[in-house]
Subunit: 645 residues, 2 copies
């Protein structure tokens, strides 16, 4: 955890609270986690020790209520445990029987007198104390190890000296901050039609809404729209990012602003505010939540340029500075200069966000947040969440680790991640271990498989298998993942030498035949549909921190399990999935996977049954299992561990 | 750093201050370390970036004054660096020449007007500004990369927006807290004589003092005495920890207290307080500092047992509880129970420590601190250091990592460590990396090669080679190390099945023939003498954090270097040592070592000269070098890198 920022969780997240606690000498201690929920109600959770010698303790708790919780740790001398341990050992060795019995009688007798213990427990303690008053070695050992006594005094321990840690805050955000399947599209492409003259007629919010049932039908939860604002005409980019737009080229939606308005306006091509409201309603009806793009930059035609020239950088020649990464220039975009008038810019951005919140948008995908001040995001997210704690911001930052982590720490609820470039087994193990076990207290990765700006070499050259493998891993390894429209159609041709699609949709309309592709059996929509179905049926997949990696003898066969204890599934039954993925999209792999089955409560060597949720195949497995994964036929197993009755 | 405790350093330590700092976007930043010394004087240190993409910055500073410093970091937009970078790139690409020149003229012209800049620098800036007012591309590039300008503006940067971290405390303790060669002995053995009747006549402080020139002659800095207090007779242990002492058995010095007194008394066998003062004076004259043992426990005959029975644990049968680790008992020792009367015990312990401080003792080796409360140590060390900041406490804790680290964090100036049990190359690399680079902000290991309680299997079975190897590593890998008397004589016979010497000196006198052994060429004294001489001549060896590991092709050949920049040696010349150790005491190893010579400023592939400080051999080395290390003849090279003129 970066210092000075609260830990975070999402509603329903099972949080492993961990602390280092010990006391001098050899006496036994107990440790409690004290949670205070946002309403002020406190609960106490007995912690269990982790590996011997580490002095680390853990309690797993599912946090269900949104708001600011606090957590604190309380360690105490566990007087009964210390006595019981010494007594059992000494009874076995036949030493100090009388002394230990007398000490025990005193300890339990005194605890029996504590008024806040249930009456039945006081009776139990009193009886044990009187057994000890005339105990021989066998009786001493029997009391010291009496299960009902141990159980009662674990729940309400006899506490000696102790120490308490000052409580720390933990922000619980709504479930969607940490769980969801995202689908990105350009609304102008959805329903766009090539007319007889070859000119494309733009899609609109109304035509785009017709695609919503298809997206919802694949099981997605969030529909994310690239910017829907008016697009500038000055220096508008043409196809493939060329400097000169041809007539009919729609321009990059990231060149925001024209005489038709800025960040609070809707591109006239797409429709009106009324159309937007209707789009949001249609999405909701389909079970989809709308996410908007928040790209804080302006085209030269943005109203801000005239009304607030001080928000930009004016050069000595009187012109406004374009965005650039010297010597490259982005002539269709002016970056904001936050240093010039921070308070003015801050206020305007808050106004813009709240404008869309009022129209029903509660999720923002923030474009390039790492080029704006961290303090600004910290302020904006705090202000917005003060007015509406349900608003979620996703940081689209692909930059250095320290910056990515800082954005998450200061408030972003979700983050793009390096997932896109982690393709080998070793890379994925390291990456997923990091996001699940190292940064998960404050950072939640959204595992996008592609974006309108990213078409990795793995996807460019891995064929259909690559698309299947990446979707299976993204959908099961973390609780949030995303797909950019066209992934289903395996659009894997890049602009030569680049890592993005040729004919990038940022600069033109894309006309796609979703239904035709599916009818022809070419579409991955059925796979995405099945993956989202599996995610819906398996609560273990809706957690970030519960991933464990297992060994396989093949360098390309990645193996991980996601397990959730019965206490947390809501069904009263544990939920366990094992994913075995051949991450080499060009080969068939046969190998042995070696599982630590204790994670799901199976004794090493014992049999258990699994069902492949993708194919329906069933096998009986043990801790060591043969697998064959054919990249061209079935590159991934997603196995459900079945309960034996 | 454990939270809530100050970082620590010792006077003369070169501390690598490191911080993560970045700003949004692509503009250049600078980072300053601001140090405030104990007198309140501030210095500013420009930090340099570490590896690309890490956003980590470093400044190394030698802290010379003891007391509490503060350190803080200040990051700022480096306006000149940002402009110079963009200008150089754009001049090369031939774009924006006029704009960049005008921006530069404005920036430098304004800086030239800053009153706190030296006059010569203002002239330099003014001249650069006027060159820019009519600059072409070549002139722009020339100003942007002008070395005198870059240098001046690195020293006094043109700072834009910035952010400042609140300063944190850093405690600088006297050099001996972190640097020293320790020698442990039992004063009663030094000068003890076996009489004609076979009974041993005890050594005394006066006879022990006669050994001081020998110890000082080997180059040791600290002479550490096991407890010198009266020893109880009740349940006194006999030889080899037997339950019954024979007449003449002196008992364990850790069973402290008899009718002759307790922790503030001197065993009558050893002498008087006057003798002790004289011993301390003799030591000082030899350049040795005396360290005493602080073992907070009592024999059943300790005066505390009568005067403060409440400081112990009284059992239901009215007896006082012995020390135990059930079912084992230590019948000659009563542990203190700090829970019963903390304030009474705290005050008495402070009194005891200050009693010895008044007698000239400034170093305490604390026996088993992990069996006493952490708060107690935190309090005691703070109180003692408030009265005398030069007092040093060494924690003799061999326990779990979290506990070892906590003792160091709460105040112990030095700590015993796992060094004794880290024998293979891999173990040593991991251990030394940890102590030098992970915990060195608050924990300083004293690398004892043996103690009166520890004779490892490596030493038991490794013969003379093992003793030589371990001494060479301990003396060069860390700035504090220690030897328990008898190491020179290769006393490597263990009590069968144990990890301690047979006929442990705790329970009997040891009569040793130091001079005879050396005359016969059997003693390791000459090696220890040479090692301490090398330590004295090489400031790089008196630092903890400056170790780097290098590759060798052999699993038993450990390679590390210790380097100190010329700025920190006091001689104006850098100091570099390369240690190459065959850690297998049973074989001859030939291999290639691969060095990262850039650490001492040698370009990879370039030649440099080395001298083996143990044998005087000289070689010309490069980054890859053949070595042959014969465990039976010459197991370790300690190479000095010679400067070429």
């Amino acid at each position: 955890m970066p210092q000075g920022y609260p830990a975070k969780a999402f509603a329903g997240e099972v949080v492993p609270f961990r602390v280092v606690a010990f006391r001098e000498g050899h006496d036994r201690i107990g440790v409690h986690l004290r949670l205070t929920d946002p309403a002020g109600a406190q609960t106490l959770h007995r912690m269990t020790p982790l590996a011997d010698g580490t002095d680390r303790w853990q309690a797993e708790v599912a946090l269900d209520t949104t708001g600011t919780w606090t957590y604190g740790y309380e360690a105490f001398a566990d007087e009964f445990a210390t006595w019981a341990h010494a007594s059992a050992v000494k009874a076995g060795a036949g030493v100090d029987i009388a002394v230990m019995s007398a000490l025990g009688a005193e300890l339990l007798g005194s605890a029996a007198g504590e008024r806040d213990r249930p009456a039945a427990e006081r009776t139990l303690l009193k009886a044990a104390a009187s057994r000890l008053r005339k105990a021989d070695a066998a009786e001493l050992a029997s009391v010291a190890t009496d299960p009902s006594l141990v159980e009662a005094l674990r729940a309400r321990p006899i506490q000696g000296v102790g120490s308490t840690m000052a409580p720390l805050p933990l922000k619980v955000e709504r479930t969607e901050a940490g769980v969801g399947a995202w689908y990105e599209f350009f609304p102008r492409s959805e329903g766009a039609v090539r007319q007889k003259d070859g000119v494309v007629k733009t899609g609109t919010l109304r035509t785009a809404a017709k695609r919503l049932p298809g997206v919802a039908g694949m099981g997605f939860d969030v529909i994310y729209l690239v910017p829907i604002h008016p697009i500038g005409t000055t220096n508008r980019k043409g196809r493939n990012n060329t400097l000169r737009a041809e007539p009919g080229d729609p321009g990059s939606p990231y060149a925001i602003g024209s005489p038709d308005g800025g960040h609070d306006a809707i591109h006239p091509d797409l429709g009106t505010e009324k159309d937007f409201r209707s789009f949001v309603r249609s999405a909701r009806k389909e079970g989809l939540e709308v996410a908007l793009d928040l790209a804080l930059q302006a085209s030269p035609d943005h109203p801000w340029v005239a009304s607030h020239p001080e928000w930009f950088t004016t050069l000595p020649d009187g012109t406004i500075a374009y965005a650039e990464n010297p010597p490259k220039k982005y002539q269709d975009i002016y970056p904001l200069n936050f240093d010039n008038d921070p308070s003015g810019i801050y206020a305007e951005m808050l106004r813009v966000v709240m404008h869309w919140v009022a129209l029903g948008v509660k999720i923002f995908r923030v474009d390039n947040p790492h080029t704006k001040p961290l303090q600004f995001w910290e302020w904006l997210i705090r202000e917005v969440n003060a007015q509406d704690p349900d608003v979620i911001f996703l940081a689209e930052a692909f930059t250095r680790p320290a910056v990515m982590r800082a954005l998450a720490a200061v408030g972003f609820q979700q983050s793009y991640s390096y997932f896109t470039w982690r393709n080998t087994k070793a890379e994925l193990e390291e990456f997923l271990t990091g996001v699940a076990h190292e940064t998960s207290d404050y950072m939640r990765p959204n595992l996008f498989v592609n974006t309108h700006d990213i078409l990795t070499e793995y996807l460019q050259f891995g064929g259909r298998a690559a698309y299947r493998i990446r979707a299976c891993i993204a959908a099961t390894a973390a609780p949030v993942y995303g797909v950019y429209a066209g992934y289903e159609l395996i659009e894997n041709v890049a602009r030569p030498g680049s890592e993005e699609n040729i004919d990038n949709e940022k600069y033109e309309y894309k006309l796609r035949d979703w239904d035709g592709a599916e009818e022809r059996g070419e579409s991955l929509a059925p796979l995405l549909r099945r993956l989202n179905e599996i995610r819906g049926a398996h609560p273990a997949l809706r957690q970030l921190r519960n991933i464990s990696f297992h060994w396989s003898d093949d360098d390309a066969v990645l193996v991980y399990s996601k397990h959730l204890d019965a206490a947390f599934t809501g069904t009263g039954r544990p939920d366990t999935l094992i994913v075995v993925a051949n991450v080499d999209p060009h080969s068939v792999r046969e190998t042995t996977v070696h599982l630590d089955t204790r994670i799901w409560g199976v004794h090493p060597g014992d049999e258990f049954d699994v069902e492949d949720l993708l194919t329906g195949a069933e096998w009986t497995w043990r801790d060591h299992n043969y697998v064959r994964l054919d990249a061209f036929a079935e590159p991934v197993h997603i196995l459900r561990v079945k309960e034996r009755s």
